[in-house]
Assembly symmetry: C2
Homo-oligomer: 250 residues x 2
């Protein structure tokens, strides 16, 4: 019943995967149907394509998902991370070489980097790289390898060694779980090597986590709390209740 509809969506998706946008009018022409049909295709069947002010865009591309018009909860989370990153930004100094961990926590930090004259960012995450690629004042070093979609990051055997060859100043590490006794953990095992290498080689190690991660343990352990010079969080009380020492007043 949706055979043709599906085929249309597929061809549109094909036209869009290369990146870019397609006007509704042009999409209709391309498929040889009316604009209304394209609209209906889009609303009837789930698709990675979204309609934004008369234009079709791939929703999965970075830079397209809305930031402020999220659900209340998501917006809150974003606010928290944004504030968190503003505090982190205070520790950054002109000329630093920063290791930036994967995940969404540190993304809002990247926009703050425009305020510096010159920085270097080392990362193994695609979303971090994309955000940094647009900053003319920041040198970007991406550690490549096999791509893991779940964390939008890369993994490779010699990543640890590659990191240790770099002169990393400050390591900004995120985590999915922080427990006083069981240490700091994340979801994916391929993240362990780069995180540990960054912790091992950096002159300063900063753990950046929001309070929701306290008392949580995730499958991949990668460090103990004492491995970090600072813990930056949004809720100190919650941290101290968990027995986590936060070295920084925010």
């Amino acid at each position: 019943m949706s055979d043709r509809s599906t085929r249309r969506l597929a061809s549109l998706q094909e036209a869009l995967t290369s990146g870019g946008t397609l006007h509704l009018r042009e999409a209709a022409e391309l498929c040889g149907v009316s604009e209304m049909t394209i609209r209906r295709d889009l609303t009837t069947h789930p698709s990675p394509i979204s309609l934004l002010g008369g234009r079709l865009v791939m929703a999965s591309y970075p830079g397209v998902t809305p930031v402020y018009d999220l659900t209340e909860q998501e917006a809150n989370h974003y606010q928290v991370k944004h504030r968190l990153c503003q505090h982190v930004a205070r520790f950054i100094e002109e000329g630093d070489t920063l290791f930036i961990d994967c995940g969404s926590t540190l993304i809002p930090l990247l926009s703050q980097l425009i305020h510096f004259r010159e920085l270097t960012v080392v990362t193994y995450a695609l979303n971090v790289a994309n955000a940094v690629a647009g900053l003319a004042n920041v040198r970007l070093v991406l550690l490549g390898g096999l791509f893991y979609a779940s964390s939008q990051s890369f993994g490779s055997d010699d990543m640890g060694a590659a990191i240790e060859r770099l002169g990393i100043n400050k390591a900004l590490i995120s985590a999915a779980g922080v427990d006083c006794e069981r240490g700091v953990s994340c979801f994916h095992f391929h993240e362990v090597a780069p995180k540990q290498a960054a912790i091992a080689t950096a002159m300063q190690r900063i753990l950046v986590v929001d309070a929701s991660k306290f008392g949580v343990v995730r499958p991949a352990y990668f460090a103990s709390l004492s491995d970090f010079d600072r813990v930056v969080t949004d809720d100190e009380q919650a941290a101290s209740r968990e027995g986590i020492a936060v070295s920084t007043v925010i």
Copy 2:
């Protein structure tokens, strides 16, 4: 005179670098001015932010720049590349490990890859990686290093060695200049090592160039025409006029 305007644009840009979109209304609130002022800021001063159906987006982000509503000339170029890539797609087989070169020539190819069950793509270009990252059926290997904005690609000392360790089936190489006598060349020197390594290690080497590159020589020489097993182009006549043997009928 544009002091405040500039500051507003900067703060908006900051809100957007993390990726995402911002509704005009919200942008106005954020800056404490009217929507009209934001509109004017955007039209008066050049900025990487663009307004798309009432939403602010970073124009530099992939997936935002329009594909089909380009100027006539650009659209033509896109069409050419698209057709070119459809021909290239015929040489791809299920299970292949493809080396995909940087530049814009091969981008339209990536959308065709959905039609295969399983592939592996090896690249050193950020735009290629972004287009491939969304394809669930394609394993992505990104060769990292220092980022070069001019070609949206990465360079490193051991990239050549890294490429030769991989079992690359087919190398799809693009170029900025192809000359019968002076060989195949590109703009940037950091592209030479990965291109040469891919040519050296791949089982099949395919040069993909549109006719506008014939008879052109660019600063960085990287291969002679005889290094390729096939040359895929959109204008055979032009090729043979230049004395370039095109092994493929398209």
